[in-house]
C-alpha cells in the first residue's frame, strides 16, 4: 500500500511538473499574470508530492517491507535504523528519487526566497526547473522506480552494500546532491534570462547567492566523500580521479568559475553572455556526471549497476536539456549587449583569467575521464587514464591560477595598477618564498615538491593578509573585532575561501611529500615504529554486532616511552552479503598528523599473526579542513547584506531590458 502510495504521488507530481513546466513559461511570454502566478504554488505542490513519495520509501525501509524490490536488495532486518534510512540512496532507483527530492526542495526554496524578483522571471525559473523535474519523473516512473514490487515477497533482504554502512553514507550523498542539483537554480536563472531577454547586472546579483550556496554544499559534499574514502578503503588514499569523483569535481570547477564570473557581471554588467554559458556548463556537467555514473559507459568502484536502456534515456534527457539550452544560447546570446568598460589589466580581467584556468582544468578532467571511451569508440586503442595523468595535468593547469589568487583581490576594478600591486606584495612574495624553501628542511627532508606547494600556499595566505590589512587599517573604528565586523561579509567570505584554498594546498603538499607507510607482519607483542611513534600489537579479538562479525585489533601507541593512545582497527564480515570483509581503519587524528592503522589479512601460517599497515600522514586533516574553510567562506559571502532582498527593493528595480547594441 505504502509503495503504491509513493508511486501514485510521483504520478501526480509528474502531472504537476508538466503544468509547471509549460503554463508559467508561456504565461511569461504572453504577459499573462494568472498563468505566471501558477509557478510558486506549483513548485510547492511538487515538493509536497515528492516528499510524500520519499517518505513512503523511508517507511518501507523502516518497516522491512521486502515485498518492495528496492528494499529487498538494499536492506536486511538487522540493518541499523540510520542505515535503513540512508539505504534510500544506496542504489540507483533511490538515488534518482533523492535527486528529484532535492530538486523539488530547491524549487521550494526559490518559490520562497524570490519575492524581490519580477513575476515573469520567477515563472520562467520555476518553469525550467519544472521541466527538469518532468525528465526525472519520467525516468523514475518508466525505468527506475524504487516502488516496484517483488512477488512473492522476500523473507529477508540482501543487505546494503557493506562499504556503504557507514556514517559517511548518511551525509555524503545528500550534501553532494544539494550541491550539484543546486546548480540547476543558477541554470534556471540563466535560461530565464535568455528567454526573457533581461540579462544584466541585476540578474547577476540575484543569481549569485544561489550559485554560492550550491557551490558551498558541493564543496562539503566532495570533502565528505574524500574523507570517507580515506578511512574506509584502508589504504589511506583520499582522491583517486575515479570517473565518479571526477563527475562531481567538474561541476565544482565550473561552479567556481561561474561564481567568479558572476562577480564581473554584477559589477560591470559585462560578459553576461559568457556567464550564462558558464551557468549552462556547470549544470550540464552535473547532468553529465549523473549519466556517466549510472550508464555503464565508464568503470568505477562507485558506479551503480547499469542498463543500456537507462543509459539511453538519460542521454536523451541530457541531449534535450543541454542541447536545448545551448541552442537557446546560440539564438539569444548574439543579441545581448557589451556592458561597461574595463582595462586590460584590471580585477575584471583577472577574474576572467580565473575562468579560463578553471574551465581548462574542468576540460582536462573531462578529457582524461572520457579519453579511453573516445579511443575505444573509434576502435583505436584501449587505454587507461589514471592519477599519474590527472595529478600532473591538473596541478600544471591550476598553478598559474593559484598564483593569480594572490594578485587578483588586490587589483582594482576597472583599472589595476600592476607596479603598485607589485610593491605591496613584494614582502609577501619574498617571505613566502624563503619560508617555503626553509620549511622542508625543518620538517626533516628537503623536497622540491614540498617547497613548491608550500610556497603557493604561503603566497596565497600572505597576499590575502596584505589585502586584509590594507582594508582594516583605514577603518575609523578601533579593535580588531569591530574592524572585522565593519567589513562587508562578501569580502570576508572571499578572504576565508581563499585561505581555505591555502590550507588545502598545505595539507596536500605535506602529506604527499612526507607521508610514510610500513607494511609489516605482526604477531602478538610485536612492535613497529614510525618516526617518534611505536605501535605495539596486542592481538585481535572477535565478536558480532548487528549485521556483521568483526575482528578487532588492539594497538598501544607510545611516544618517547609513554603510551599516548590505543588504536583499534577492525575488519567487518557482513553475514548476509558475504564478499570481501570491509576494513575500518583506526585513525588517531591530530592537527599536525594522522596515525593510521589498518588490518590486512591474517598471515598464512601463523594463527595469531596479521599483516598490518601503518601510516604516518602529516597534515592530512588540513585537506578536509581547507575544504570546510572554503565552504564557510561561501556561506559568509552569501550572507552579505547585498543579498538580503527585501520586498521594497522591487520598487527600485526597473524591469531590466535587453541592450540592443553590438555583440561582445
Amino acid at each position: 500500500m505504502i509503495a503504491e502510495l509513493g508511486s501514485f504521488s510521483l504520478m501526480i507530481a509528474l502531472a504537476v511538473a508538466m503544468i509547471l513546466g509549460t503554463v508559467p513559461i508561456i504565461g511569461a511570454a504572453r504577459g499573462n499574470a494568472g498563468w505566471m502566478a501558477l509557478a510558486r504554488p506549483g513548485a510547492r505542490a511538487l515538493f509536497v508530492l515528492v516528499a510524500v513519495a520519499a517518505a513512503c520509501l523511508v517507511v518501507s525501509f523502516v518497516r522491512n517491507d521486502f515485498s518492495v524490490v528496492y528494499v529487498a536488495t538494499n536492506s536486511t532486518r538487522a540493518l541499523p535504523l540510520r542505515f535503513k534510512i540512508a539505504a534510500f540512496w544506496g542504489g540507483h532507483e533511490g538515488s534518482m528519487l533523492l535527486w528529484l527530492l532535492i530538486l523539488s526542495f530547491w524549487m521550494l526554496a526559490v518559490s520562497v526566497f524570490s519575492r524581490h524578483l519580477p513575476a515573469a522571471m520567477v515563472a520562467r525559473i520555476l518553469g525550467v526547473m519544472g521541466l527538469i523535474a518532468v525528465g526525472f519523473l519520467l525516468f523514475i516512473l518508466l525505468t527506475s522506480s524504487p516502488f516496484d514490487r517483488l512477488i512473492p515477497a522476500a523473507e529477508e533482504g540482501r543487505d546494503l552494500n557493506p562499504l556503504l554502512q557507514d556514517p559517511g553514507m548518511v551525509a555524503h550523498p545528500p550534501m553532494l546532491y544539494m550541491g550539484y542539483v543546486g546548480f540547476s537554480v543558477a541554470f534556471a536563472f540563466a535560461i530565464a534570462a535568455l528567454l526573457g531577454g533581461n540579462l544584466d547586472a541585476t540578474w547577476a546579483r540575484w543569481s549569485r547567492p544561489w550559485t554560492t550556496v550550491a557551490w558551498s554544499f558541493l564543496t562539503v559534499g566532495i570533502c565528505l566523500g574524500s574523507a570517507w574514502a580515506y578511512y574506509t578503503l584502508g589504504w589511506g588514499g583520499w582522491w583517486f580521479w575515479d570517473p565518479v569523483e571526477n563527475a562531481s569535481f567538474m561541476p565544482w570547477l565550473a561552479g567556481t568559475a561561474l561564481m567568479h564570473s558572476l562577480a564581473v557581471t554584477e559589477k560591470r554588467g559585462g560578459f553576461k553572455v559568457w556567464t550564462v554559458l558558464l551557468a549552462i556548463f556547470a549544470f550540464s556537467l552535473s547532468l553529465l556526471g549523473t549519466f556517466l555514473v549510472r550508464s555503464g559507459v565508464l568503470t568505477s568502484v562507485h558506479a551503480f549497476a547499469n542498463d543500456p536502456r537507462r543509459g539511453v534515456f538519460i542521454l536523451l534527457f541530457l541531449s534535450i536539456v543541454i542541447g536545448g539550452s545551448l541552442a537557446l544560447y546560440a539564438w539569444r546570446a548574439p543579441k545581448v549587449g557589451l556592458g561597461e568598460r574595463f582595462e586590460l589589466v584590471s580585477r575584471e580581467t583577472m577574474l576572467l583569467t580565473n575562468n579560463v584556468l578553471f574551465l581548462s582544468a574542468a576540460g582536462a578532467v573531462l578529457l582524461g575521464t572520457l579519453y579511453p571511451l573516445f579511443l575505444d569508440a573509434l576502435g583505436l586503442a584501449k587505454i587507461s587514464v589514471g592519477p599519474p595523468y590527472f595529478d600532473v595535468v591538473f596541478v600544471a593547469l591550476m598553478t598559474p591560477g593559484l598564483f593569480l589568487m594572490g594578485i587578483g583581490p588586490l587589483a582594482r576594478w576597472k583599472q589595476a595598477n600592476l607596479p603598485e600591486i607589485g610593491i605591496r606584495l613584494k614582502w609577501a612574495f619574498g617571505v613566502s618564498l624563503i619560508t617555503a624553501l626553509v620549511l622542508p628542511l625543518v620538517l626533516g627532508r628537503w623536497s622540491g615538491l614540498a617547497a613548491f606547494g608550500l610556497w603557493l600556499a604561503l603566497w596565497i595566505f600572505a597576499a590575502t593578509m596584505v589585502n586584509l590589512w590594507s582594508r582594516l587599517r583605514p577603518l575609523p573604528v578601533s579593535g580588531l573585532g569591530a574592524r572585522l565586523r565593519a567589513l562587508p561579509l562578501g569580502y570576508l567570505g572571499m578572504l576565508t575561501a581563499h585561505i581555505g584554498v591555502a590550507v588545502f594546498i598545505t595539507g596536500v603538499t605535506l602529506v604527499k611529500s612526507y607521508e610514510s607507510e610500513k607494511d609489516v607482519q605482526m604477531d602478538v607483542g610485536d612492535t613497529v615504529s614510525m618516526g617518534p611513534y611505536t605501535f605495539k600489537f596486542n592481538g585481535v579479538t572477535s565478536g558480532a554486532r548487528e549485521n556483521y562479525l568483526y575482528s578487532r585489533g588492539a594497538f598501544d601507541v607510545s611516544k618517547n616511552g609513554h603510551v599516548v593512545t590505543t588504536m583499534t582497527p577492525e575488519k567487518h564480515q557482513f553475514v548476509v552479503s558475504q564478499g570481501e570483509p570491509s576494513t575500518v581503519a583506526a585513525i588517531d587524528r591530530g592537527f599536525m598528523r594522522d596515525l593510521y592503522v589498518a588490518l590486512g589479512d591474517q598471515s598464512g601460517n601463523n594463527p595469531t599473526g596479521w599483516v598490518v599497515r601503518v601510516y604516518y600522514k602529516p597534515f592530512v586533516d588540513w585537506i578536509w579542513g581547507g575544504c570546510l574553510v572554503m565552504a564557510m567562506g561561501g556561506v559568509l559571502a552569501l550572507s552579505d547584506r547585498r543579498y538580503r532582498f527585501a520586498r521594497s527593493a522591487v520598487k527600485d528595480v526597473a524591469e531590466p531590458t535587453m541592450s540592443a547594441t553590438a555583440t561582445a
Partner: protein
C-alpha cells in the same frame, strides 16, 4: 556569419553525445589482447591427466588449434563447456585446454562430470603461462594458426553464435 561561433558549444556537445551513445553499447571492462597476430608465447607444461607427459608450444606447429583457458572453479566455464564438447565432436579443429590455477583432482573430476572436449589439457597451477598469454579472466579462448601465431582471442564464454560467426570462418581461412 559571426553568430556561428555561438553554435560552437552546441556542436561540441553533439559530438560528445555521439561518442557517449556509442559508448553505451561498448564494454569498458574488456581488455583486448596485444598478442593478436603475434607469435604465441612459448610454454612447456605437463598434462592434467598425466603428469609424466608434457606439451610445448612448438609441438603444435603445423596445425591450427584452439587453446581454451578453463578451471574447475570457474562458473562461466560451465556455460560454455557444452558448446565446446559439441564442437569437439565435429573434429573441425583440435581443442587444447589450459587448466588455470587449479588442482589436478578437481580438474579431472570436473571433466569427468561435464565432458572432455580437449585433446589434452595443460596444467598451469600457478598461472604463469596464463600471464604470458594475457589471461585475466576465465574462460578465454585463443585461435592459433599453423605458424604458431595467435589470430583471435575470445574473452568470455564461447557461444554457438560466436562459433558460427567468428571462429569457424576464421578456421576455414587459416586451414585453406
Amino acid at each position: 556569419m559571426r553568430y556561428l561561433r555561438f553554435l560552437i558549444p552546441l556542436a561540441a556537445f553533439a559530438v560528445l553525445t555521439g561518442f557517449l551513445m556509442k559508448g553505451l553499447w561498448m564494454d569498458p571492462h574488456t581488455v583486448p589482447s596485444p598478442l593478436i597476430d603475434k607469435p604465441a608465447p612459448a610454454f612447456r607444461l605437463t598434462q592434467v591427466a598425466d603428469a609424466g607427459k608434457s606439451i610445448g608450444r612448438d609441438d603444435m606447429l603445423g596445425k591450427v588449434w584452439l587453446l581454451n583457458v578453463w578451471a574447475s572453479w570457474c562458473v562461466s566455464c560451465r556455460e560454455e563447456h557444452p558448446v565446446l564438447v559439441e564442437f569437439a565432436k565435429t573434429g573441425v579443429v583440435p581443442i587444447y585446454g589450459l587448466d588455470y590455477k587449479d588442482t589436478r583432482d578437481e580438474a579431472l573430476k570436473w571433466l569427468d562430470r561435464l565432458g572432455n572436449p580437449y585433446q589434452a589439457s595443460l596444467f598451469d597451477p600457478d598461472g604463469r603461462v596464463g600471464i604470458d598469454y594475457g589471461v585475466y579472466g576465465v574462460p578465454e579462448t585463443y585461435v592459433i594458426d599453423k605458424t604458431g601465431t595467435i589470430r583471435y582471442k575470445q574473452i568470455g564464454p564461447i557461444t554457438p553464435e560466436i562459433l558460427h560467426d567468428r571462429i569457424v570462418p576464421l578456421l576455414r581461412k587459416l586451414n585453406a
